[in-house]
């Protein structure tokens, strides 16, 4: 039996407060593939992630997103997750009073049939194992979900959830922001360990540096709410050395942004400033 998933986005358009941010996205991700979406801030990358997951602020106006032929956009957020979609968020919520362990156990059991819940022992072993791989302090198991976590700890916690939930489509939304180089390597290892034929990845980033550790199979550049250029890993390398201006010139784009979308989410967190060269 082949478990290799097929995730297809076809002509996806989405708006926020009646402003169109996504203007027709086409993308196909198969099991085993890693796709990277790159692009400057404000070009619609995070909107794509949120629209796929079903954030209530975004309205999909046209197009489809299917996983193994099943329409995701008709589903509630939790159904999408249970169908196999996982989004590692840029700004994960903090939830008081709910421990990381209780939360993850609820999430795992939500996917399982009643009566087939994961045993506590098995769950704890699995969680301890994954936390060890991510070099997380065991005490995070019983800490309240993301409460008081540093930016880097939150990102590691997202990767932990990914590892525990065993999804078939993984979207990483700016998972590299706020990470120092050591944490970045740990997160990248966590992702690389999860690479398999049973899983496809969509990595959203505007820095090349994450792709130094996770080699993508395909690289797409997003501008003005569309994918304007696609290629292999060499495209990411060219973007690193030359920036985005050559693409803008090539395509005659003056302003690559599509609205305020990413600015709106900007909030202070423990971000490591990019190095100035």
């Amino acid at each position: 039996m082949s478990n290799s998933p097929k995730f297809v986005i076809d002509g996806l358009k989405a708006t926020i407060e009646n402003k169109e941010i996504l203007k027709g996205i086409n993308l196909e991700i198969k099991g085993g593939e890693v796709h990277a979406i790159m692009g400057p801030n404000g070009t619609g990358k995070s909107t794509l992630a949120s629209a796929i997951m079903g954030h209530p602020k975004y309205e999909v106006t046209e197009g489809t997103a299917t996983l193994n032929g099943v329409d995701l956009l008709e589903m509630e957020v939790d159904e999408r997750a249970r169908a196999g979609v996982f989004l590692a968020m840029q700004y994960p919520s903090e939830i008081t009073g709910v421990t990381n362990a209780d939360f993850l156990r609820s999430a795992i059991n939500a996917k399982r049939e009643e009566g087939d819940e994961i045993s506590l022992i098995k769950f704890i072993r699995k969680m301890e194992g994954k936390m060890g791989e991510l070099e997380m302090n065991p005490e995070f198991m019983h800490r309240y979900l993301n409460e008081g976590f540093s930016g880097g700890e939150k990102k590691r916690n997202e990767i932990l959830q990914m590892a525990m939930l065993d999804p078939s489509v993984v979207i990483l939304d700016e998972v590299d922001s706020g990470l120092d180089i050591d944490a970045l390597k740990i997160v990248a290892d966590g992702v690389n360990n999860m690479r398999s034929e049973e899983r496809g990845f969509l990595i959203i980033t505007h820095y090349q540096r994450l792709l130094d550790y996770i080699t993508p199979d395909f690289v797409h550049v997003m501008m003005q709410g569309r994918i304007v250029k696609s290629g292999g890993p060499e495209l990411a390398e060219r973007l690193e050395s030359e920036g985005y201006d050559w693409i803008k010139e090539e395509l005659g784009i003056e302003d690559e942004t599509v609205g305020q979308e990413e600015e709106e989410f900007k909030m202070p967190m423990n971000t490591v400033a990019p190095e100035f060269k």
Partner: protein, 433 residues
């Protein structure tokens, strides 16, 4: 200028009742004095709540229930909360206490744990010294009425240096809406003693309006430690009016754990008078409002002693059309140098028609102190729901996790497992109707 107050009870009844119970003279006359006062005093002035609009004049009549030989004579559902303990129990059914046990060990150590009516006769001087001294009969009409018509109740006395290891448990059960249900709890912990007291105030099958007007007084002597836990889940027809007050001397400590899980209106006032130097108070209160319930919940810490310390946390979850006024008062008197007072009130609204006010008050008359407060009123955060749902958790479960999580900082801190479990069960009962 006061309006004509129609009292729920008359003088001859009070007199006859006191006489029939053979109460000491001081108590009989105190009841009568209080009754006169009740006719002259007003209801307490509460923050944003007018008690005149509440139905609080049905007190019922004193009705004697028969003693029971064992807990097995109680309705099944009330046995379970008491079953893990054979000794050190007391049960009040409607107006009077019907069951009480105290272990030989504690009896030998001089601990007194009996109903207050009996204590007033057998330990008359001791009871007289403390009864209605922390809360005064003339504070308002409610305290006056209580002084006049209370019945049953508990007297717990812990002698000097005695450490009571096991919590003493009390069940206050009302099954008859025509009977007085206004117990008085009096706790005296002598120097360097320690005790933990747990009660459960509940009802079964009440169909008409009834008032539960109770007063708890706790006297914490130097170096003593008292932990007072109470869970109230009275029927929607019963209005709960509860004063709880502790007077804490040097290096003494009081810990309040309170679950307001009633279905009817509730006014509660829980205060610590930190009289002594180094005295401490810690109050944790959880309340849930449903239907048309009105709650007015006050926590108060008054600091007189130097280096006295108070902390209070209240969490309220409000659903349907319920209203909560949550007051926190930290008062630091002049001279209470190095006192520290912290308070947090948080209200979570689950329905657009629910109302919640958090009123933190810091009243400070001394310079060298530290004090802090935090208060918030809010709804379930939509981003939090989205986040949990994005991991496959259903909307209902996500909301549930967030609500229980909101209460967890209080519930998880409850030191007695049995109380924590019972509170958890009551919370589930109220939220998952």
């Amino acid at each position: 200028m006061t309006t004509q107050i129609i009292l729920p009870i008359d003088q001859s009844e009070v007199q006859a009742l006191s006489k029939s119970k053979n109460e000491p003279e001081w108590l009989s006359s105190l009841r009568l004095e209080a009754l006169t006062l009740a006719g002259q005093l007003d209801y307490p002035k509460l923050e944003k709540t007018n008690l005149n609009r509440w139905s609080i004049d049905s007190y019922g009549k004193y009705k004697s229930s028969d003693s029971i030989k064992s807990l097995a004579d109680l309705p099944q559902k009330f046995q379970t909360s008491l079953q893990d303990q054979k000794d050190n129990l007391l049960v009040q059914r409607n107006s009077n206490v019907v069951f009480q046990t105290l272990s030989d060990e504690l009896t030998k150590q001089g601990v007194i744990f009996t109903d207050l009516e009996t204590a007033a006769k057998e330990h008359s001087e001791l009871v007289q010294k403390y009864f209605m001294q922390a809360v005064k009969k003339d504070e308002n009409q409610l305290t006056a009425i209580h002084t006049s018509l209370w019945s049953g109740g508990v007297f717990l006395y812990v002698p000097k240096n005695v450490q009571v290891e096991i919590p003493l448990q009390v069940l206050f059960l009302n099954e008859d809406d025509t009977s007085i249900f206004s117990p008085h709890v009096l706790i005296v912990a002598e120097s360097n003693s320690s005790v933990s007291y747990v009660d459960h105030v509940t009802s079964e099958g009440v169909a008409n309006d009834l008032v539960h007007n109770s007063i708890v007084e706790v006297f914490v002597k130097p170096g003593a430690k008292v932990q007072f836990s109470t869970l109230h889940n009275l029927n929607g027809k019963i209005t709960d009016l509860s004063y709880r007050r502790a007077v804490v001397e040097n290096d003494g400590s009081i810990e309040w754990i309170i679950g307001e899980m009633n279905d009817g209106n509730c006014m509660s006032d829980t205060s610590s008078i930190l009289k002594g130097n180094g005295s401490t108070s810690d109050a944790k209160i959880v309340c849930i409002g449903t239907n048309d319930q009105k709650l007015n919940i006050t926590t108060n810490a008054t600091h007189f002693g130097k280096s006295s310390d108070s902390d209070m946390i209240t969490r309220a979850v409000m659903n349907d059309n319920s209203t909560a006024i949550i007051n926190g008062v930290t008062k630091i008197e002049h001279g209470a140098k190095n006192a520290n007072g912290e308070q947090t009130e948080k209200v979570l609204m689950l329905s657009p028609t629910a109302r919640g006010d958090a009123n933190p008050m810091l009243l400070i008359d001394e310079d060298e102190v530290t004090a802090g407060h935090a208060a918030s009123v809010g709804q379930v955060d939509k981003n939090q729901i989205y986040y949990l749902m994005s991991r496959g958790i259903s909307k209902e479960t996500a909301e549930r996790l967030i609500i229980y999580g909101f209460l967890a900082p209080v519930v998880s801190q409850i030191p007695i497992k049995q109380v924590a479990d019972q509170l958890q069960a009551l919370i589930e009962g109220k939220l998952e109707r």
